[in-house]
Symmetry: D2
Subunit: 350 residues, 4 copies
């Protein structure tokens, strides 16, 4: 951390600042001689009260050199850390496809989805039993019966189960059934939920809030990691901007940005970030092209009967085609979803 003083700063101002720094157990190195005095803070400045420093009248600005997160920081581990669940590993050479309906609606619906996503190459089944809905009048999910249906689908197909938790009190219940717990975008800064989920030790998919920065996402990851739970998978799903053709604006560059700053694996949700079925495959291709470690795709056997977000769910046939398209991109960047595709290049559609 570097503290730049105003031109008119006095020696007394400098002493006051050095005092604050030392109080926090850190050391300060004062550099006179410049037109402005500059004070360098030596040691881990995370616990230093920056607000208080800014109050000293002669402080012009306080510049952070180090990241405010620590456990998620790339410096902690070389390369991408891996999160392994059953026989699936996030962050390794093999990409992971997580797919399924937005919400669990019935046993028939989920088993049907589980069957065709598994055949197409998905390794994890998604489906919400608890749904965080903007309106209290919208379908809120089946609750625990939904969790039981997920467990049946796992038993029937061997797929792992990823499902969202919405409230602190449901965490034990969800943790009992789920292989991977998802924290949704609206709850990314629900810090109590982050801590509670973190304590279960279960792998966590942490979705970036649509109004949140890359740095805030890493700090939310830090809430989970600091519960001694190393199994955090970040998920980009689009941010809010003035452009509203797509439901959100997919911030595709957040993937290499996350990877530049953090060792955590990163997946992309091409469904919420576009909100339009016909665009999902493009977002999925872009995600694999920039280096995502997996995808989280909404698909529904009969979108016309879906209770939520059906219009962004890809159809069974489209899903199988999407798998082939992303596999081709994966191979172009030296990776694979572990499926077989025809090597012949597709023709240009024009």
């Amino acid at each position: 951390m570097i503290i730049v003083l105003q031109e008119q700063a006095t020696e007394r101002d400098v002493d006051a600042i050095v005092g604050i720094v030392r109080e926090a157990g850190l050391d300060a190195n004062v550099s006179f001689g410049l037109s402005r005095t500059v004070i360098g803070v030596i040691g881990d400045p995370r616990y230093l009260n920056v607000a208080r420093l800014k109050e000293v009248p002669s402080v012009d600005r306080v510049i952070s050199i180090t990241h405010p997160y620590k456990l998620a920081d790339r410096k902690e581990r070389p390369g991408t850390s891996t999160v392994t669940v059953g026989d699936v590993t996030f962050g390794g050479p093999e990409l992971v496809m997580i797919a399924g309906p937005c919400a669990v609606e019935s046993e028939e619906q989920l088993l049907s989805a589980a069957d065709y996503v598994r055949k197409a190459g998905a390794k994890v089944l998604r489906g919400g039993a608890f749904k965080p809905r903007t309106s209290p009048y919208s379908f809120q999910g089946l609750g625990e019966p939904g969790l039981r249906i997920l467990a049946k689908a796992r038993a029937a197909t061997g797929l792992l189960i990823a499902t969202e938790v919405v409230g602190e009190q449901e965490v034990p219940q969800v943790a009992e059934y789920a292989d991977i717990i998802q924290i949704g975008a609206r709850n990314m800064q629900n810090f109590r939920l982050l801590e509670t989920v973190g304590r279960t030790g279960k792998p966590v998919i942490l979705k970036r809030g649509f109004g949140n920065t890359v740095e805030e996402t890493l700090l939310s990851a830090e809430y989970v990691l600091s519960q001694d739970n190393k199994n955090v998978i970040l998920c980009e799903r689009g941010i809010r901007t003035f452009e509203n053709y797509t439901r959100n604006t997919l911030d595709i560059m957040s993937v290499p940005t996350f990877k530049c700053h953090s060792h955590l694996p990163v997946i992309v949700d091409p469904s919420h970030s576009t909100g339009r079925r016909e665009l999902v495959v493009y977002a999925a291709r872009a995600a694999v092209a920039v280096g995502a470690d997996g995808l989280l795709v909404e698909t529904h056997p009969n979108p016309e009967t879906a209770q939520s977000d059906g219009y962004q769910a890809v159809l069974p046939d489209q899903f199988a085609d999407l798998m082939i398209q992303v596999e081709r991109i994966a191979r172009a960047v030296g990776r694979t979803f572990g499926i077989t595709v025809d090597e012949a290049a597709p023709g240009h559609a024009g």
Copy 2:
């Protein structure tokens, strides 16, 4: 709700749509004759599955005519509804000043703040015992001891107490001490927390999320209202945009917009929406000028020792001056904070 079909829609398509509408217990009125068939939905469409309608291949678009919220809707009540707590009323002719430090830090600090804000004309004391912090390494509040200090300040000054709740499990505790419970911006879509707080029956200040729209804010209010808790006060506190001179961009026009659509009282937080002490008074003046029903201002007796957000806390002297300035604006729009000010107009500073 109006459903516009594509040009090539067939009679069978129309029948399918009418079927979906009737299944939801509503009626449909089909208008052929246009270049495109248009179907009007008769009845309350809130429970209608719009996603499913959009799936019918010949549907071009579904246009909502009514608001998705109901209890918060202006149509429900003429004028602004009032929320009364003790001898303070939000939404009436008299404006309410809520002021105090970001966080409760000590008895001395809070009593000092309570004393000067009361003298300057505040009616409610704010102060966080539980703080939702972006980083797990930042000061998280004193917890219950902080609540007890708030209660002491109330006993000492007669001010009402407003304080934030961060997690579901803390709701009973916070409700025991607080006169008004605040839900912070980061929790605006923490739906479980909204419901839990709603069930306490306590007045609620609901802060708009920095990534959320006016409509979403009203839908979150609906989560509280639907727990049979009519005491919701909306709070604008700035949104995220590309401009980063201020911490957030104060969306000042949300105040008349909220009032145009809803009967709920609206207050403004000029501190978080600017993030700079020297700008707070301007944001406060703008808020009163556009018709806000109150203000929520951070002030600290010694910002240089503050544990959080000290740089946006106004100083005691500044707070007294701010009260005078906003009172002048209040009178210009036919309202008052209930304080006495010198009638002589101030001079132009240039």
Copy 3:
């Protein structure tokens, strides 16, 4: 300017940087001793090639301490500079109302508008003869005949004339007729137009682009000012955000922000920043409350016949009422539009 080096920087790196700084005719002051070496640049760094500095491998970051603009900088002149046109002064204690239709449509329309805005207290008549339209199929303005109508209205009412210029080639023509030339939001970074208008010496209203920052706006002002034209009036008119209830999001805090950084007078356009007639008066009140030096309001004698943006034009009666409301706010902040209003406070509408 302060250059912070990376931890592993060598003496050779430092020498390279000092060389670049000196090449630009500036001096450098090196501060070893910190965990990171910091180099302070002495002198005006505007002509220094920052990009080149960032290329030196050991440079971690380059921090600008001074503003990139100079002539617009508050440091250049104490207080607000004034722009005087005829008997009207922007930036003094008296606020200036500029009002009129979006586009000049006919002599009858403009004379009618001129008449009622003058009676209500406006000092300047606005009206576009050249309209920058998003679509080539929209009405583009009357062109020079529109300018002649503006001149007639000036002769008939004594009002000053403000009108927009869209292209470089029209500048001489517009300058011949207009008292004040307006540069629209879409042209704020049309640098050739800025220079061409600057060279006329005419007062310029420079509207902030809806995608531009406060700093960029001041740099565009700098393009005009550097043509030895000191008569620049900044105009806030809203920015683009995710919230789309209003046409744009009025960044009301930009007014005190501009004034904090620059001596230039600042006005607000409450019409484009809201895009809804019923909200214009609220935006106008907020603008005066935060210290704007004037307003730019669209009004039309018969909006239902307007060729452009009629839905945001206030009606004649509404305009007269708006003048009274903003005058009350002006007095509350020690200023005036120079009109007479009933001192009795208005009642609270509820």
Copy 4:
């Protein structure tokens, strides 16, 4: 276009609206029977005065069904239209790489860049002779001498030349030298410049403004197309959002969105959309993965001496590697840049 009336609309209101529609030479089809009357407009509504319709008191909303652009509309032509310049075609199966420095600085610099980009597979050389700079104090380009250097590079290498035009008056000069004229993001709504460039008949790269929507970009294209110039190439280069890790947020989904609505070819500028050299290759890969027809990449033989934006220019070696990476992605989507690459898949970096 569909006009939805308010519930209380009378027959007289309906007559007024039908009158307005007929005045514009269009026909109206009234549909009573719904809870609200709906009026369908028959014919091309582009010249209809929507603002005036909205003024009719009983109009609730006006819904546009057709696009406001016509010549750029996908309906005009099946597939992607192609723009051919010399032996290069945009919009066909072969992708086009345009590369070169941000600004032409010297003959030596440009010839060096031209040489290595050609060898790596670029078909068009870019380089600015006129630079639109946010600050008047920044390097503004060499002007006409820069154009002559570009012409020399073309003669030496056979590459085509793309260069930006900043002002209307420079158009003839730029058109004389350039094979493709670029209109920069800041000038996307400089409508006079669009028309002037359109009239030259030269191929135009139209960059999306960082504050502009997809629809506005197509309307700006319409300004060029309506000058009977069919050679428009759209260019995505990032938009402004709250996330500022990258210089802009690459709106990668705009590429399939443009293609869904328009037949025009679309390229992507991965340099400005990221602003960081190390991210350029990722943005380029994403662009090809979503179906872009080409790339516009900044590269510089010696970025440390660059006069502008050097930090986002990729180095010669990086450029050659980028070509190989994007070629692999191109093949995965059935296309090619026309270069040879080793078929062996790259290893996963981890």
